[in-house]
Symmetry: C2
Subunit: 196 residues, 2 copies
DNA sequence: AGCATTTTCTGATACAGGTCAAGTCCCAGC
DNA sequence: GCTGGGACTTGACCTGTATCAGAAAATGCT
């Protein structure tokens, strides 16, 4: 199955709308396949995030570097997600984040201008965007709630329940940063979890 | 200025699209004015959030009660915001949150079904929804980032900078809960801030 | 005005999680 | 097959924030 077929499947499933051959041709014409090797950057701090990229294969992390030089991972992304700093993408402001490939990445990427011009007439695409924004807002709300009111252990349990794939695909120090913990604390939580 | 005029102003400003007299009639017909006294609930845990309410006047808090009976405020809302648990509203699932009026509230409320049927044909409304979802997702992302990587003091400074109105309108124990802090810690942070 | 309630502040103490340092394991590259 | 570096763990210690208790100040109610 080609990269575009993966995408067509995804959008049809998410929007509940089938794509015509014409629709598919529009996508094929404007979504630009792009490969990134592990450790390459999709976005660097200070740059404007001009593209969103649909992840066909691979994984990435979105992180910020604080004044003390410590990295904080805001987002971990896998197949079937869109890669971007949406604040920078929609507002065209310089991003505070870096987005780095953690495994070799295959993307289909596009600019917001192209989306407006070519993709917005496609109902399935508009519906997909709706669903994505909704889900993203809800997911962030849930993580926020966890961050302000759960203990470190509860947050980890949550991750195990809701995103078990993360443990397969990402090293523990990345998971720790994603949860807002030091790697040492996560290591201890996991040791305790084994006992019970 | 009537409650509807406040709303018309808001939607025209946010969407960048003027409303026709016909559009206005549609809103007037379907947005239901509703008043809540201080301490009344807009939504209770376990119920489905059937309505979104546009806040014309007043304020509210969205909070969760944990197993130990402690309250955690996820959201503080003022004029010109929409009141709802969007997860429950869009998915029609029972909410984990309570929404309570902190001051007497004047709302214009509507169900999702009515939105789909009557408001979705109005371009300004669709554009407004877009902007709101985007802003909400971005705001949550920023708060999330602050929660996992900032100290208590940095989070408070952030609030002072970005939402100074909150300090005028909400008591400090609510602000503390919103920041994920105990009231005592917030009190100490404020005391320290005075010195420097 | 006077009383009750809520909000805010202060001090003492406890604990979750961070930091630093060292050690083990494991895999990638020569 | 060796080796160097990253990933993960463990232990000792430290710090920020929570918790508990009580006092003071502000607010609301009759």
């Amino acid at each position: 199955m080609s990269n575009f077929d993966v995408f067509f499947d995804y959008i049809q499933k998410l929007s509940g709308i089938m794509l015509s051959e014409d629709d598919k041709r529009v996508f094929t014409a404007h979504l630009k396949p792009k490969k990134l090797r592990k450790r390459q950057y999709f976005l660097q701090e200070g740059d404007v995030c001009k593209y969103t990229g649909f992840i066909v294969k691979g994984s990435a992390r979105t992180f910020r570097v604080d004044e003390k030089g410590h990295e904080h991972i805001l987002k971990l992304s896998l197949e079937d997600w869109w890669l971007a700093d949406f604040e920078s993408y929609y507002h065209l402001t310089p991003s505070r984040y870096n987005i780095e490939a953690l495994e070799d990445l295959e993307l289909l990427q596009i600019t917001n201008a192209q989306v407006e011009e070519f993709l917005s007439p496609i109902p399935a695409f508009v519906a997909m965007q709706e669903v994505i924004k909704q889900n993203y807002a809800i997911a962030n709300q849930n993580r926020l709630q966890a961050a302000i009111s759960y203990t470190a252990e509860e947050r980890y349990d949550d991750l195990v329940t809701n995103y078990p794939q993360f443990l397969q695909r990402f090293p523990l120090n990345m998971i720790a940063s994603y949860l807002g913990l030091s790697p040492e604390t996560l290591s201890r939580i996991r040791k305790n979890a084994l006992k019970s």
